[in-house]
């Protein structure tokens, strides 16, 4: 008997009782179809570099924003995220950093249409595949915007011929902070004693303890110790008097008595309950002429601090209809409503930043105002009274982040953004003759969002003005049109496929914002609720591109493939004379496994060699506001000069500015071995950006600081390896592993000739022949054992015997000797070398056995360095600027006459403040290993569920963003390529349970 099944190799078996047939997958004939630019392609014929993540890998991650699901999944794709708020996007970089100051963001294309909205408005559950196009052959057709790679998102559709089915999916979970705090002091005595040391050192090291103690108390404020009558806070050796107790009554300048005690801000602020819940229903099916897909989803993702969260309601309808034998039409509509609560100031060292303050505040300050009996004071409105450090305890002020209390502000302020996102796609395919097809695609995206931003009237900076309310409305509307003509023909072994088309994209962004002070109802976040200081602002920016495009593909005997593509594109950001650019690619593929010399090799199922070369553009300099709509003109800002107009230059334009062009070479092998048990891709790429867009700093004496120009070039080249293996493949047990690694080397090839091979921009240096991620900072030389001063290296020019003539080497460069100095500003700045990681990637495994499934995925990077800003801030010297700011416990190893051999300089209140300034001392390894996801599930056997009409029933639990291991507790190297700091909304760990059912 012959057994066959689509996609499986036909087998002949001898007929006997109870035959067990295991069909083997037929790779020769089952050729995966993948989504590519302006169409689809068979995977075996594709000459470019692209990788796809499928629905299961996307939905496995408990992410609210699909960009976060890319982490560790695809070779060549690196994600970073500074903001861990619910719904926040990750920063995605494909094959390195292609530009120094222009945008490095890839282009998202949703169902064929460029998408520039918030990626969080796409429900990950609606996504069928996400394909990352990495090389020129795959994305040159996106012309001006393809240089940083393209991410194609394809939403789910009904499958023609498939039975109607309903999927129901529900999950519930909780979020917790994923990155712990740095190892900071939590003990008030320890902080006081350390601060004492700094003042004592400033006074010469042997000052009487009452004098030092008086200074300590003056500078730190808040007398939190109860000291017995007649005794001092400190003993002569600088320790807290054992008779002094923490917590003291305090009589304010208002005559009232209060109680002062320090609070653990971190514990008080981060223990709130929260929940993440998500529900999705999908219905899909088909009739002979049509297919349909409908979905509805609801997500509520609550943050780890109060009043923070992300809510999304989404609905989608995708359908198509075969009108007759020649014409097919289809459309897709989606509506998404998001509601995002996102407390202000949660990034940067702002006084409103809960993460920053709770990390950085010394463990000696109260969070609350307390009555004389120690109970927390409740105000007349019934609110908990928080201490802002600005006289809530009359007469006391907190030196660190005075006049602020993020807990109170987050509780009473409001910051909410609601968005309505409507997205429509329509297409018409008309087969005019056999092989000749005209298609038209239209896309419309509208995003209307409204933001209410209320500063409360009760407490904090704006209580004086009776609160402030800002309301902002932003509208983005974009249209996209494509008209494509395709032709394909086969003559014997020859096959050609041609495409010609036109595309036009237009986007309008409209902004309107207003504000007033002094609120009537302190809780209503609307402008008409307030009466003073009205202010309003609005603007509109219009951006458009258009281009003509063509592609030709040819293959011979399904063995040799060549392709070429071309696009002529224009962007409105450039001067009309410099607006049009040509972009193209050529590529070739060779299926070696079809050659006679390999036909006999049974273990080789697929072996393809491929190579491509081409150029793409990047038109986005990434300026803010209206500056991003025109790069070529000088811009002026309108101001009010006592009732008349005043126009001052705000941006220096450059008429000659044009595309940044990326030359992209890619070559490698796709392979499938051992009956497809081992699959993968190995590739070499080289991406050279020329005419780099960059803001060249100019002498500030010109009256402006930079001019944008096309200058120089940069390369990113490296290897990628992506392999997947099936370790066990049987009826009841399947075990797969996957691994990918990418190594990229970034090199600046050429800078503006004026720069003579080198440009310095603050703490960064850009040098020809070296990485663009190179810091230019002072080099820490440790501690002077005798004085305890921090030392840095300095190049001292060597003089001839006369003492005045500098010695020069053969190149005419001065001969210098590397010595040390204790004056930071005099120390020499040195280039640090490349700080980017040598390699990054991910790995994971999935095991399913007897209905149970288990999956775990990791991401990693190694070989790089990162500047640890927070650690630097926590290693301050105890100067007057630092009073009340916490210390890392490493400070306990500071230099003292008894502890001379140390890397930590002495504490000194009178220090110049540079002891912890930017130097190599805080450049730390950026190696990390993160556990992105662990999932464990069980699918109830079909024979059980079918009895109640359910096809599939799976329950699972999952932990997402589980842990990250890095060089220092608290350090998250996934934040960026250059610096890390804890002044951002920390990433969250999500633990969930879920149910999936298919009817």
């Amino acid at each position: 008997m012959v057994v066959s099944y689509v996609g499986m190799m036909t087998q002949e078996v001898t007929v006997k009782q109870n035959v067990k047939v295991i069909l083997e997958s037929d790779v020769e004939h089952l050729d995966e179809v993948m989504v590519v630019a302006f169409g689809t392609a068979k995977k075996s014929q594709f000459t470019g570099s692209a990788a796809t993540i499928k629905a299961d890998k996307i939905t496995e991650r408990q992410v609210s924003n699909v960009s976060n699901a890319l982490s560790g999944q695809i070779a060549g794709v690196q994600t970073t995220a500074t903001n861990g708020e619910p719904g926040a996007s990750a920063t995605v970089r494909i094959r390195g950093i292609g530009s120094m100051s222009a945008s490095n963001a890839p282009l998202y294309v949703v169902d064929g249409v460029p998408f520039e909205g918030n990626i969080a408005t796409i429900n990950p559950q609606d996504i069928e595949t996400m394909t990352v196009l990495k090389d020129a052959a795959s994305n040159a057709l996106y012309g001006a915007r393809g240089a940083n790679g393209v991410i194609l998102i394809t939403t789910k559709k009904g499958q023609s011929g498939a039975k109607a089915k309903i999927d129901v999916d529900a999950k519930w979970g909780t979020n917790r902070r994923a990155i712990p705090n740095y190892d900071v002091m939590t003990d008030a005595n320890m902080y006081y004693e350390t601060y004492y040391q700094g003042i004592n050192n400033a006074l010469g090291g042997a000052a009487p303890s009452d004098k030092v103690g008086a200074y300590v108390q003056q500078f730190l404020g808040y007398p939190i110790y109860d000291i017995p009558e007649g005794e001092q806070l400190f003993t002569e050796d600088g320790k807290i008097n054992p008779n002094a107790t923490l917590g003291a009554q305090y009589v304010g300048t208002d005559g009232e008595t209060y109680f002062l005690q320090p609070d653990n801000w971190y514990n008080e602020l981060f223990m709130n309950e929260n929940m993440r819940q998500e529900y999705n229903v999908r219905i899909s099916g088909a009739s002979p002429q049509s297919t349909y897909f409908m979905s509805a989803g609801y997500l509520e993702d609550t943050g780890i601090i109060p009043n923070s969260g992300f809510q999304r309601f989404s609905a989608r309808m995708n359908s198509d209809y075969q009108v007759n034998n020649h014409i097919k039409v289809g459309s897709s509509f989606s509506y998404v409503n998001t509601n995002s609560l996102s407390p202000r100031d949660q990034s940067g060292s702002s006084s409103g930043n809960l993460f920053y303050i709770s990390n950085m505040i010394a463990p000696i300050y109260p969070l609350y105002v307390r009555n004389a009996d120690g109970s927390i004071k409740i105000d007349d409105y019934g609110f908990t009274t928080y201490d802002f450090g600005a006289g809530e305890y009359p007469g006391l002020g907190r030196p660190f982040m005075g006049n602020s209390n993020p807990a109170s502000m987050i509780a009473l302020d409001k910051y909410q953004t609601v968005s309505d996102v409507l997205s429509g796609r329509a297409f018409l395919n008309w087969e005019i003759a056999k092989g000749l097809k005209v298609s038209a695609n239209w896309g419309v995206d509208a995003n209307n969002s409204r933001n209410n931003n209320l500063y409360n009237a009760y407490y904090g900076q704006y209580s004086a003005t009776g609160g402030i309310i800002y309301v902002t409305s932003a509208r983005t509307f974009s249209t996209n049109q494509q008209y494509l003509l395709t032709y394909n023909k086969e003559y014997g072994n020859h096959s050609i496929d041609a495409l010609a088309g036109y595309e036009n994209y237009q986007r309008t962004y409209q902004y309107l914002s207003g504000s007033k002070e002094n609120l009537y109802n302190p809780n209503v976040p609307e402008i008409d609720n307030a009466i003073s200081q009205p202010s309003a602002s609005s603007y509109t920016g219009v951006y458009n591109t258009q281009g003509i495009l063509a592609r030709l593909q040819y293959d011979y005997a399904d063995k040799y493939f060549v392709s070429g593509s071309f696009r002529r594109d224009a962007s409105s950001r450039f001067h009309p004379d410099n607006r049009w650019g040509n972009f193209w690619s050529v590529g070739g593929g060779w299926l070696l496994n079809k050659e006679n010399f390999l036909l006999g090799m049974r273990n080789i199922d697929l072996l393809k060699f491929k190579a491509s070369y081409g150029v793409q553009g990047n038109d986005n300099l990434g300026y803010t506001g209206l500056h991003n709509y025109n790069y070529y003109s000088d811009h002026y800002g309108i101001a009010d000069a006592n009732g008349d107009f005043a126009l001052s230059m705000t941006y220096k334009g450059n008429k000659d500015i044009t595309w940044e062009t990326s030359h992209n070479f890619n070559t490698g092998f796709d392979f499938e071995f051992f009956k497809r048990r081992l699959r993968g891709t190995v590739e070499y790429f080289s991406r050279k950006t020329v005419d780099m867009l960059y803001e060249r700093p100019v002498a500030p004496s010109l009256g402006y600081s930079a001019i944008p120009m096309n200058v120089g070039s940069m390369s990113n080249s490296g290897f990628e390896l992506d392999i997947q293996g099936d370790l066990v493949r049987s009826k009841n047990v399947n075990w797969t592993v996957n691994f990918n690694i990418t190594s990229v080397k970034n090199v600046i090839n050429e800078l503006h000739p004026d720069l003579e091979g080198e440009m310095i921009d603050g703490s960064w240096i850009y040098r020809e022949g070296e990485s663009s991620y190179q810091m230019y900072i002072r080099e820490y030389a440790g501690v002077d054992e005798e004085t305890g001063d921090a030392l840095w290296y300095i190049d001292v020019p060597q003089m001839a015997e006369d003492g005045v003539t500098p010695l020069k080497d053969a190149n005419g460069d001065p001969i210098v000797k590397k010595e040390t100095t204790n004056t930071f500003t005099n120390a020499t700045q040195y280039a640090t070398g490349d700080i980017l990681p040598k390699a990054y990637g991910g790995f994971g495994t999935n095991l399913s056995a007897y209905g149970f499934d288990f999956g775990i995925s990791f991401a990693y990077q190694f070989g790089g360095r990162i500047y640890d800003n927070t650690y630097a801030a926590l290693m301050h010297q105890g100067t007057s600027d630092d009073a009340g700011q916490n210390w890392h416990s490493d400070i306990l190893n500071a230099w003292t006459p008894e502890n001379k051999v140390t890397e930590v300089p002495k504490l000194n209140y009178n220090g110049d403040g540079y002891a912890n300034a930017v130097s190599t001392r805080f450049l730390t390894s950026s190696d990390y290993l993160s556990i992105n996801n662990i999932t464990f599930g069980y699918t109830v056997p079909k024979r059980v569920t079918q009895k109640i009409g359910v096809q599939t029933f799976r329950v699972y639990c999952a932990a997402d963003n589980v842990a990250v291991f890095s060089a220092r507790k608290g350090l998250d190297p996934r934040q960026s390529y250059s610096t890390s700091s804890n002044s951002y909304y920390s990433p969250m760990r999500t633990a969930s349970v879920g149910v999936m059912m298919t009817f």
Binding site: L203, Q218, F219, T253, G389, A390, G391, L396, G397, P399, N403, I432, Q461, A464, T465, Y483, L485, Y502, N504, E517, S535, S537, Y539, G541, V542, Q546, S572, H627, Y629, N630, S633, D634, H635, Y636, G637, I638, A639, A641, N642, A646, L647, S648, M649, T650, G653, P697, V698, A699, P700, S701, L702, G703, S705, D754, N826, S880, D881, A883, N910, D912
Partner: protein, 537 residues
């Protein structure tokens, strides 16, 4: 052929879309050069907008702040005045807590890497750029008249003001340092390329440029006056600026002449005794020859607390001074300087005494109000009440007070010192006494025995009269005086051994951003950053 028909149809629709008229890409508060020219063609009155940049640059927010980091001293020229005064001996505040002027109190802003140093540099060079753009646009007419001449005059005088401020910030005073390197001079004739290869000019050549600009500007402005508010540069302002420059260059007779002309042309008269027996200096007044007019709509007001009253006015309802709940930001007078002010001098009340009393507060808000106000606003002793709240409303939350740039009083004091130096002490004394007796202290007599004592007496009058207005550091440099903080109400952590006259720390190093980009600067010839003094504690 069928194919052709469809093809034509397809591309016809495409060209149709392509032919759509291009929509203006920028519509709003940002204007392109091209849009600006179009507007000017349609409505020539809008040309004055470029002139008004000369006013706006001095009070703008955003000189050094970026979208990611906001500096709360970034409120224009008044911030520079505060910075100069704070780094001296006359203005006291605390170097702990929320005082944005801590770097000035401790002289940590003198180094090349300081963002405050870059602030001074960028503010003035942006202002120079605005003047140069006007001069470039109006160049070509050798004998301009009317409004064109007036505009050229304004731009030249404005530029002279900037160079005079810069040359005093980045090098010691003119006399004795004529050949030292100061700052680069940028003129309208200079190309971008030349500006990037622009060596530091000597002090003498910067002054030559200043005098050249003022000498050209004065007749243009005098013969072609134009209407405008006090923020506009007039012939009187140009004379006043030249009076300042002549004082610095030791041209005392010329200085006296210029100061007199400034007074004569402006008609400005000093604040009367009754006018300054209440908190004042918050609104354009008859004593102002030149001043920045700040209104509700200005960015610095809209920011709420990034404006001068927030850091200097002790009676604002929305500012650092009164908002931080402790007495660290309030700007106080040096107690020994205050002690030297006679009881009969109205200026005694510009600061509260050791019992938090000031007659000025009582005069303005009612008898017995001094102490409660001082308590409510967390005053320290000697806190200033010189600068009043907006509209004189106690704890007004709007900080839109104007800022004086040149007052009649300053001109009278220049005149007095210049006469004393050029025509003898008695001539000077007479002028000084006439001013002080009429406007500040009816009982005043000047007892200076010799020229040196007389110069010191004028200096004392300047320190008191112009306190907080940004003159004290340049006086210290011009008169080659030490900075003495000991024996006064400075806290231990900002009290230093006396800093001798012309200490390197008094002046600023050329900012790093300029050194790195201006290839004309010989970096090896620049000084090493001076080390900030160490507190005695």
């Amino acid at each position: 052929m069928k194919f052709n028909k469809y093809f034509t149809m397809l591309f016809a629709s495409a060209t149709l879309f392509a032919a759509c008229e291009e929509v203006e890409a920028l519509q709003g508060g940002t204007v392109t050069e091209e849009q600006k020219s179009e507007v000017a063609q349609e409505d020539p009155s809008k040309l004055s907008s470029d002139m008004n940049a000369l006013k706006d640059n001095l009070i703008q927010f955003g000189t050094i702040s970026t979208s990611t980091s906001t500096n709360h001293l970034d409120f224009g020229f008044p911030a520079l005045c505060l910075m100069y005064d704070q780094a001296g001996q006359d203005m006291v505040s605390e170097q702990h807590g929320y005082n944005w002027l801590g770097n000035q109190l401790t002289f940590k802003d003198r180094v090349k890497t300081s963002s405050y140093n870059a602030f001074i540099w960028n503010l003035h060079y942006q202002h120079i750029k605005s003047a140069n753009s006007i001069l470039k646009a109006l160049a070509g007419d050798d004998e301009p008249t009317g409004l064109v001449a007036n505009y050229i005059g304004q731009a030249l005088a404005s530029r002279a003001f900037d160079y005079l401020q810069l040359v005093q910030s980045y090098q010691f005073t003119y006399l004795g340092h004529e050949e030292e390197l100061a700052v680069p001079v940028i003129t309208e004739a200079m190309s971008e390329e030349e500006a990037m290869n622009n060596p530091l000019a000597t002090v003498a050549s910067v002054y030559a440029q200043i005098m050249d600009d003022l000498d050209t500007a004065i007749p243009y402005l005098e013969e072609n006056p134009s209407e405008g508010d006090k923020a506009q540069i007039t012939a009187a302002v140009a004379y006043g600026l030249r009076a300042r420059a002549n004082m610095l260059m030791g041209q005392y007779a010329n200085a006296a002449y210029d100061a007199a002309k400034a007074l004569e042309l402006s008609g400005a008269t000093p604040y009367s005794i009754s006018e300054v027996s209440v908190p004042s200096f918050n609104n354009d007044a008859h004593s102002w020859i030149w001043g920045s007019i700040i209104t509700t709509n200005n960015d610095v007001v809209q920011t709420g607390i990034i404006n001068w009253p927030s850091h200097l006015c002790s009676m604002t309802g929305n500012g650092y001074t009164t908002g931080v709940g402790m007495d660290v930001v309030h700007k106080r007078i040096n107690s020994s300087l205050w002690a030297r002010i006679p009881e009969t001098d109205v200026r005694k009340g510009w600061w509260v005494d050791e019992d938090f009393y000031s007659a000025n507060l009582d005069n303005a808000f009612g008898a017995g109000y001094s102490v409660p106000i001082a308590q409510a606003a967390t005053f320290a002793t000697y806190t200033n009440v010189k600068f009043g709240p907006q509209d004189n409303i106690l704890f007004n939350t709007e900080n839109s007070q104007d800022w004086p740039l040149m007052r009649a009083e300053e001109m009278l004091l220049i005149q007095a010192e210049a006469l004393g130096r050029s025509e003898g002490v008695n001539a000077g004394k007479a002028a000084l006494e006439a001013f002080v007796q009429t406007y500040r202290d009816p009982e005043y007599t000047c007892n200076a025995a010799d020229e040196a004592a007389f110069i010191d007496e004028v200096w004392f009058q300047r320190r008191v009269e112009l306190w907080g207005e940004g003159f004290s550091l340049f006086d210290v440099l011009r008169l080659k005086k030490p900075i003495i903080r000991k024996g006064a109400n400075f806290s231990g952590n900002v009290t230093y051994e006396d800093l001798p006259a012309e200490s390197p720390i008094f002046i600023y190093s050329i900012p790093e951003s300029e050194r790195e980009t201006n290839k004309g600067i010989d970096v090896s010839a620049l000084r090493e950053d001076p080390v900030a003094p160490t507190a005695i504690m």
